[in-house]
Subunit: 409 residues, 2 copies
């Protein structure tokens, strides 16, 4: 915490002390943003200090993070996921340079582990006894796993449409799970009422300003893995808005401390059936709620709770917005699998679907360099993977039948 | 390859040159074992050289591996999975010291990535055009993913009982998948016939001696992560026998080169419904085929193809054998999830189930130190996770219903 100056409201601009259980602006209810002393950080970090660091997790970047320390409790190893040079996929797309950041290899198999690991540390600092959240799935399963590792009980609210894979994680991790027969918005509201009533620690990303600070570590890693030479663009899927805001914060932190010398432009990818943030940018007017019509459950968020920060991030970065159909999402799942060996869930591959479409629409040039973030593992949503890639050929254990199959292939 | 001396038959003892496409002993059909010049390796490695190494994958240990180099093709980042100190789980089990090695965070979410990454490199060295294997699931999905990353076509044979999660991976990675309506043994035999007929590169672990060399890297990592101070025991689930043989080879390699000063005893854990290897050890007679009656699909292997090496490994290590019921496997899944935040597939948690049972039976003492290897991610088999942990509570978005639920909890 030594570099944290406070928490500033993104709506009214008021500044507040950054306490472990700080949530939204006490004055106007706006989201708070954690403020750092960048001059002080810059004195402590350099490309060389980072290169000599042995910590291989999101906690590699302690100078940039709002925590005192990690204590001795055992924790899951979150972050430091691989960044792959995706040469074959780039060729297929007709793009000069493409990297794929596979955040699906995190302990509970999504980028949300970064936020949840942070939430658990802040809940400990706050002296909390129980952590709660609502989620379309990944925030929930990551909270359940990261909390279980240190022994925290959790109460978790998911919409009933959450995929089985994610729900099975929650149950295995021993969370108290409330499946809500309603939309994500209904689920979110019920969780807020319960959190208020029972005084649980709040891990809702749209309320708790620290979670974005966890998520931003994906940007810190990308920059370091690129040897601090940023690509022109960074593409990712957008639902609630917290992740894209966190990614942008990460790059700005690095820029403010002299670790990178230019900022990438963000490519905000939403599903055609649920794109309130991209619509607001495209039409240059305030966002409005939308239906949640997409199979990419993690980004099916009709009422994005982090709209303020997300819209600011896209605009500040001179970002590109692009919406993709469910068919384009499934096609991207196949493409990533076949050319990179990376298996993403629908929302996980949506960023890549957006890169393809942005190229086709001429929104980004073929000579660009791009990082595409895969935000979650395809194993979380097997039925949609089967929908994308089909069923195998089934035969009896008989060489004759095999020869027939081979002839057809 | 500079430290490889050749390939020695574990049955007849004859020695052969180690070629990239070497399979079984040309004289007797026995499994071959890759031989190293340990004196030469010992001159090149030390605790200090390892500590200074930046490579964070299974290729960290090149001196111990039978490859020339990796070339420039993009590869998945396999290995260097976390080793967690499992204090809360140890307390629950009444065990002094327990570590959990989570190999479910590998790129395709199982330990088998280590063997498949090796197979892909050797197939490239052999100038192969297609790689094939049969598998209960994880060898298949890991081959499909690791091959897709470098652009290799694959033909993969799975028994029809393979869980959906694993099959969905194969399809996404673009493998040609043949689902065989029969046992693993039927599937294996059909794949062998096809491999012979079409001249594909053979990634069957019971045939190809290099795969075990990939798998042994899990042991090399465990030792290094323990700061070269080995635990008394290392527990893992056993099916075909290749993994336990590989783990043992890894520890012996380290011992032979002076990197560790004692060898752990292996705890070989099989399912009660399919334990041909453990039965052979317990009754001290040759192994005999068994039915494949367990929900832990990855170790439901009635005819273990790597029996020779596996039995030798268990005996040489003065190992402990213990069989667990399906109920004990599901209970271990809950335990690992709730106390460690680690979600394993049934075969993945079987090692931990065995540790619990071995303690209860007095086969290992409470003051022992143990590493338990989680060999695969629970997301690969969601239905069995739900079976282990149950379904969530379902309510309408209504505070009244929530209050009722809270009262009941």
């Amino acid at each position: 915490m030594k570099h944290v100056l406070g928490a500033k409201c993104v709506r009214c601009g008021r500044e507040w002390p950054a306490e472990p259980n700080t949530t939204t602006c006490p004055a106007c209810g706006g989201m708070l943003d954690i403020q750092y002393d960048y001059a002080a950080i810059a004195k402590e970090v350099s490309h060389e200090t980072m290169a000599n660091r042995t910590e291989q997790s999101m906690w590699r970047y302690m100078e940039y993070l709002p925590v005192q320390g990690l204590g001795n409790r055992p924790r899951l190893r979150v972050g430091w996921s691989p960044l792959y040079r995706a040469e074959r996929l780039a060729k297929v797309l007709g793009l000069n340079t493409l990297y794929v950041k596979d955040d699906g290899v995190n302990p509970t198999a999504s980028l949300k582990d970064r936020a949840s690991a942070m939430a658990v540390v802040k809940a400990e600092e706050a002296g909390a006894e129980i952590i709660a959240c609502s989620s379309t799935g990944n925030a929930a399963s990551s909270l359940a796993g990261n909390a279980a590792a240190v022994g925290f009980p959790t109460y978790i609210f998911v919409p009933s449409r959450a995929p089985k894979g994610k729900v099975s994680q929650l149950m295995i991790f021993g969370a108290h799970v409330i499946s809500v027969r309603g939309s994500y918005e209904d689920t979110f509201r019920l969780s807020q009422q319960a959190i208020e009533r029972y005084g649980w620690y709040n891990r809702n990303a749209a309320i708790n300003p620290y979670l974005m600070e966890g998520k931003k570590t994906v940007a810190l890693e990308i920059a370091e893995q690129l040897n601090w030479q940023m690509t022109d663009y960074v593409a990712l899927s957008v639902g609630d808005g917290c992740t894209i805001a966190g990614v942008w914060k990460g790059f700005k932190d690095l820029y403010a401390t002299g670790m990178i010398d230019r900022l990438p432009r963000l490519i905000s990818v939403q599903a055609e059936g649920c794109c309130p943030l991209n619509r607001a940018i495209a039409e240059n007017k305030p966002w409005e709620p939308m239906e949640e019509n997409t199979l990419a459950d993690s980004i099916a968020v009709g009422v994005p709770r982090n709209a303020d920060k997300a819209l600011a991030a896209i605009r500040e970065s001179d970002g590109v917005v692009v919406n993709v159909s469910d068919e384009e999402i499934l096609a991207a799942a196949r493409l990533l699998g076949r050319t990179c060996g990376v298996f993403g869930e629908p929302a996980g591959v949506t960023g890549t679907a957006g890169v393809k479409k942005a190229l086709e629409l001429g929104l980004i040039p073929p000579e660009a360099s791009v990082v595409s973030i895969v935000t979650g593992n395809g194993l979380k949503d097997t039925p949609n993977a089967i929908k994308a890639a089909g069923e195998p050929i089934s035969i009896d254990p008989d060489m004759g039948q095999l020869l027939d199959v081979m002839e057809r292939l």
